[in-house]
Symmetry: C2
Subunit: 158 residues, 2 copies
């Protein structure tokens, strides 16, 4: 099912403007991120191995949280039409299956040529930062409603 | 099918040490990265829309290339047992279906407490950088062979 998302033009963005998005981390996230990235480390996929690791149980790939940040930027603030210029990510705490993550975006600075600096922070259900960082984004020229295609659906084989 | 990967201990890492990994970007990468991240922007999924964009055709999610970098770090240099501390990514050029990407890693500096600074660059088949950046990684205490679980396989539904 297609949906509608709203892009926010550079001129309509304000310093201090925020957006957020939550995600419940599940089993499929770990498996699908392994599949798409090619990172099949046992700390993400093998419960028995992970029990012997420093984290005591399986953890999500750090860059999975990066993917959630990039999606929040691309879908919400500034939304469709944004061009990603750079992203800094500090991985502060592990993310585990069952965690609820909240991606928090905040416009820090408007720069020349439609560039916007955005704080990108992700908190877990305890309100603790799992990732903190900053993005530099080229904001769209105009605010508009964009039809977003249905998300492709994948099923685990076998 | 499980495979074996080799982790490289902090003590065995040298400044200037390199590793690389290639990946052919395909249709499924774009769709699966949309599914796992939740970013269903039409510039990644809708050919007709993308033809009207600045890129003229569909592009891969920027953070997909980030995912390939994280996999190369976690599987090759320093490999399994590494802990991701931070990653900076500069997105230089778009990535399209059919591109062949080469992730190039190079140890830049060994720091205190097992921390290693790694240059993370990704080139396309024209030898042009699509992403350039740096990672900070906690290297493993010891070099060892690790059994890597089979990569989960997903199929597109419908």
């Amino acid at each position: 099912m297609s949906t509608t998302a709203h892009s926010i033009a550079y001129d309509d963005l304000c310093v201090g403007q925020t957006a957020s998005q939550t995600h419940d981390v599940n089993e499929t996230d770990l498996q699908m991120f392994a599949a798409v990235s090619g990172d099949n480390n046992p700390v993400h996929l093998d419960e028995t191995f992970a029990a012997t690791s420093r984290f005591k149980e399986r953890i999500a790939h750090g860059m999975f949280t990066g993917a959630l940040i990039s999606a929040a930027i691309a879908c919400k603030l500034p939304g469709p039409g944004s061009v990603y210029l750079s992203q800094q990510l500090g991985f502060m705490r592990p993310v585990k299956v069952g965690d609820t993550l909240e991606v928090q975006l905040e416009v820090l600075e408007k720069l020349a040529k439609n560039q916007v600096r955005i704080r990108t922070r992700v908190l877990n259900q305890q309100g603790k930062a799992v990732v903190d960082g900053e993005a530099l984004v080229l904001a769209p020229d105009r605010s508009q409603a964009i039809t977003m295609p249905a998300l492709p659906k994948f099923i685990l084989q076998g």
